[in-house]
């Protein structure tokens, strides 16, 4: 921002083209032209570097994801490398062994990409829609909570615990999402709960 002014002045004076370059002015114009014709058959390759958050735990370490190809330019992008983000105040570029192996989980054949269900009596998993999956989960949670909710302990003190279910929430959410998740889950009485609001 601050330097745009001086750059514009410069761009006005030094136009593009071999004639208006330092190399040309010093008498190196021919090698500049030779280079330009040598590289003609080559093209530029797009790569990207994108910030993200490690998917694993509530520490929510910053990561940089590198890919070949740029989705913003209408290309397919293939993730080539993932490393810790040195600019991120939480981890300063460091990652735990799980985080350091993120590329393998991205590329893993076994990685879960949509909800799957193994129905009663079946020996294999099959695809299921998100709507159906969430309905089934809600029903199962309701049944479990109705059966196992502890309103008072042995001393008659109100405790409102639900100890037979656990809840693991995402690590890469906003403060608002983390707050809402915490309120929803805790208000059901679940104690076995983790999301990044813990940290």
């Amino acid at each position: 921002m601050n330097m745009e002014l001086s750059r514009r002045q410069f761009l006005k004076t030094a136009g593009a083209g071999v004639a208006g370059t330092t190399l040309g002015a010093l008498g190196f114009g021919p090698i500049e032209e030779a280079l330009a014709s040598t590289i003609k058959p080559f093209r530029l390759v797009n790569t990207t570097e994108v910030r993200n958050t490690c998917t694993y735990c509530s520490v929510a370490c910053g990561i940089l994801i590198f890919s070949k190809g740029n989705l913003a330019k209408g290309e397919k992008a293939d993730i080539t490398h993932i490393e810790g983000d040195t600019d991120h105040p939480t981890n300063r570029g460091t990652l735990c062994p799980k985080g350091a192996a993120l590329l393998d989980i991205v590329k893993s054949e076994q990685r879960l990409k949509q909800p799957m269900i193994r129905r009663a009596g079946s020996d294999k998993f099959e695809k299921i829609s998100w709507d159906e999956a969430l309905d089934k989960i809600a029903k199962a949670m309701k049944a479990d909570r109705d059966a196992n909710f502890i309103a008072k302990n042995n001393d008659g003190v109100t405790v409102n615990r639900w100890l037979t279910a656990g809840f693991l929430a995402a690590s890469a959410t906003t403060n608002e999402t983390a707050f809402a998740t915490y309120k929803v889950v805790r208000s059901t009485g679940i104690l076995a709960f983790d999301n990044q609001a813990r940290v």
Binding site: T21, A25, L44, A72
Partner: protein, 321 residues
Amino acid sequence: MHVTREVREVIMSRTFGPSSAPPIPDPSVLEGVTAPTFAYLPDPSILFARRAARFRHLAQNNPLAPYLTFLAGLCEAQHAAIAATPAPEPVEAAQVERARANEMPPLDRSHFTTDAAFDTLFERALAEATKIEQPEAARTALERVRMASDVARGEMIRNVLASSIPEEALAEHLYVAAALEAHFARLASQLDAARLVPVGDGVCPTCGGPPVGSLIVNWPTSHGARYCACALCGTLWNYVRVRCTACGSTAGIGYQEMEGGNGAVKAETCDTCHAYSKVFYLTQDDGLDPVADDVASLALDIKQKDGPYRRAAFNPFLLGY
């Protein structure tokens, strides 16, 4: 849990035997992951010699070899001039503190005045530059600079410090810029890096100038951090990665490299201000020099001329792109 040094030593001695045993790995070195140091100031006694060596290295099997060799000679002239002339007076402490308090660079380009130390360095650098093998056009330009009146010389100095070079005198300004680089690197080296503060996006905290490019470093204390390199004084300052060095935007950042490249030099393109600047990955090649490799990767700039992005970097050795 906080483990004191004493407790750690007890644990270590229990685990690995008494301390008289051979040195054992110290896990405390794994602690203390800190933020990268904000700025590194140049060491003018080695900066230009190293750059010259890099230019000579890059010149091997390179279509730009004659130019790279010429610039190696110019860097050697900078180095020789620094070695042969007395250091300039340091910037007054009051000015440094005033700049710091107001988040301004301590070296004020807009009020730069030449002094005896600069004049001596300037003359010496140009005299050294005459020894370089160079095309007739370059030699003529060098002679014009050496013969220039004080007024004309002052004008060229102001142009370089404003990063605004008139198209008809690119060659003359290259020599002036080389002398100014040597002088400002010396002035910068006399400052205290710990007393520098950020003065703006893509602006050198020492002299207020634009960067020539940025380095992704592989140094043990700040692995993977990015440092912008000042085109004039050689200061390296920490700058967030995947963020445009020209406008500070983090949206629409992409990278482009030459087909078949090893990922050591990429153009960081910005869809907000439509500028690009080069990023040098020391993790891929730890010999990279921001100035030398900027020139050696000219192919990338030639390719960008067809594209929507303009060059944001300032490098007096590579103007016109």
